[in-house]
Amino acid sequence: MTATTHDHSDHSHEAHHQKGFVERWLMSTNHKDIGTLYITMAVIGACVGGVLSIIMRQQLMYPHNNIITSGAAWNAIITAHGLIMIFWFVMPALIGGFGNWFVPMMIGAPDMAFPRLNNMSFWFLAAGFVFVMIGLLLGNGAGAGWTLYPPLDNAQYSPGMATDFSLFSLHLAGISSLLGAINFIATILNMRAPGMTMHKMPLFCWAILVTAFLLLLAIPVLAGAITMLIMDRNFGTSFFEPSGGGDPVLFQHLFWFFGHPEVYIMILPAFGIISHVVSTFSRKPIFGYLGMAYAMVVIGFVGFIVWAHHMFVSAISTDSKVYFEVATLVIAVPTGIKIFSWIATMWGGSIEFKTPMLWAIGFIFLFVIGGATGVVLANAGLDQELHNDYFLIAHFHYVLSMGAAFAVFAGFYYWIGKMTGHPYPEFWGKVHFWTFFIGVNLTFFPMHFLGLAGMPRRYPDYADAFAGWNYVSSIGSIISGVSTLVFFYVLYAVFTSKESLADNYWGEGATTLEWAVPSPAPHHTFEDVPVIR
């Protein structure tokens, strides 16, 4: 960047070179450093959540296994696994991490709209992680599942402080997301460089914008619901207590009014990353740009009016089932627009199978499988049969553990050179992809069969008849675990690499503004307003 005479930024620019550890990482007001903090949080969250999942798969490897002997411990582990993977892995990686790093750069802004608020969002999330870990480890642990349904976590069935810590961890993570959402919306609407109209804005920014609106409108409803839950537990109210006239199903409505937008909160940023990667490595502009942008807007809108499809077995009326089933199936339309436009982008392109592209194509392939089982589950009648068994587990892990996680890795391999200035080792990146691809498919594909055969979810044991596929699934989880070690080697190789990279190391396919600045991106970018044609 050219040096500027701008007083304030000059000051902080200078300060950067003398910044000690405390000032840089504990007092940061820089979107890139805060993004790095978020990514660090995501790595820690993924490790903890991943280790919990391997422990669970070890227990389920053989019937009547004795690794986890207490049901309460099992419940605490599934609860913590779900909460941590959602709130402390996927969201901080995609929104806090890549969103912070690249949204300001892509729109040509020097930073986020509210830099201090941005940092506080991160510290709220870190505080929440402390709480969720206390919830896992204190006493019997918080064991109501990530959906937190009463009466499972009321004062009678989950006494003790652990469940309160888990509930407050969601308050902390929720406030973090809410403040982050306000920050992203203000940044994207107010700080685009001249010439960057909404209809020229990169799709990742569109994805983050829609995600931020979902967070803004959904998180406060969750906050209300868990506030009522905490009051029921501790302060003698009866919102969800039938003895006082309360209605436990109401909690499910409130929870899923947040919970369904939440699944799009996790997958829309992934859609954004995949669009960039597919376009870059096909050396073609994305097919149907406007359709892609507005498909995300439609997904976001429809995401708010389908929540009770999570409650088909919660005694909702037949009329409600009909409505929620049909509304849910409608989501296949904008999602189809996304999938077909990615394929059309690749069509006739000069495709290069670099590691990020492998993850992106893996994403498309596996997300379609998860989407297809989603169409199955959207049918209220079928869902009655499949809801609380492993078919459902397989479905949402195909869209999350493969969908969202594959997009996290696609983004990582796509941008790590821009973030560190060093290339990743292509060979080991591909080893990571293929081992992970095999591992997760081996883990989750058999779960479809287990579910169709009737194996219920959330138990630490199962009938002998389910032994075969459970064994296969557990082998898969070990492969994914080993694959993650390959990822850590890649990380090590990146940070010890002596090689440096050009501004735009992907070549002509990469056209967004982050490729116009050096690699690694300097501490401050776009201190002079870029002009977009």
């Binding site: 309160d164 409108l217 776009f526 307003v529 870029p530």
Partner: protein
Amino acid sequence: MSSPAHSATDQIKGTVPHPYHLVNPSILPLCGGVAAMTTFAGIIVAAHLHSFVLLGIGLLFVVSTMFVWWRDVVSEARTPGLHKVITQVGLRYGMALFITSEVMFFVSFFWNYFNYFFFPEKMGTAFAPVWPPQGVTTIDPFAIPLFNTMVLLLSGTTITWAHHSLLEGDNKNTVRGLAVTVMLGLMFLCGQAWEYTHSPFPFYHGGIFASSFFIATGFHGVHVIVGTVFLTVCLFRAMKGQFTPQRHFGFEAAAWYWHFVDVVWLFLFVCIYFLGRSAIVAG
């Protein structure tokens, strides 16, 4: 990306410095995170171990962090050249979005209320399907609640009086308008406090009507307290002459927030106090 593609190499390196306000490194965000964590841990400890020490420390920490943070924001806003027009617009976005999220927070409590108001059978078979539940004597909507409604509506006009005076550069009447608004806010809070202490139904184990009533009106009351503090800060700033007819976003944000609190009250009054009243009401 895309057909509107401006390839990275196409973009012209600018020569104009950006107009935004980038802040210096600050320890306050970390303080905010630790303060929130301490407060929430304090609530848990208070509920389970009946010690309020941690909660007190946490709240003190929260309030002092907020105080220092906003003192910094005010002094930055008053430093010429830091908050240019586009930064002021950004702050407007921020406040409007924050209020939007607050609306959704209240949606959850109204959702809870309407769940039983429209479907009283959801109270379960142990209760007669009527709302308010049998045996509940409610507060007379035309006693203190109507009075409080008038107080809040009046405060909405006095804040507008202050706003118009501000726009016309009449600082004396701005201060007067704000002072009256703060007084009305306090008057409302006194009314609520009297109502709570004389409530015909108890909060603790009072059943679903009491729970729904107290959480909705209680969180509204908390927002009135926050709004009153916000207006009080504006009052002091107006007395110091910090607002000009051109620049007074702190005041406007307080006014927006106050109107939001006002509108929530109108819904509470109509839906809970009036439509949810029992045949026999307590004066």
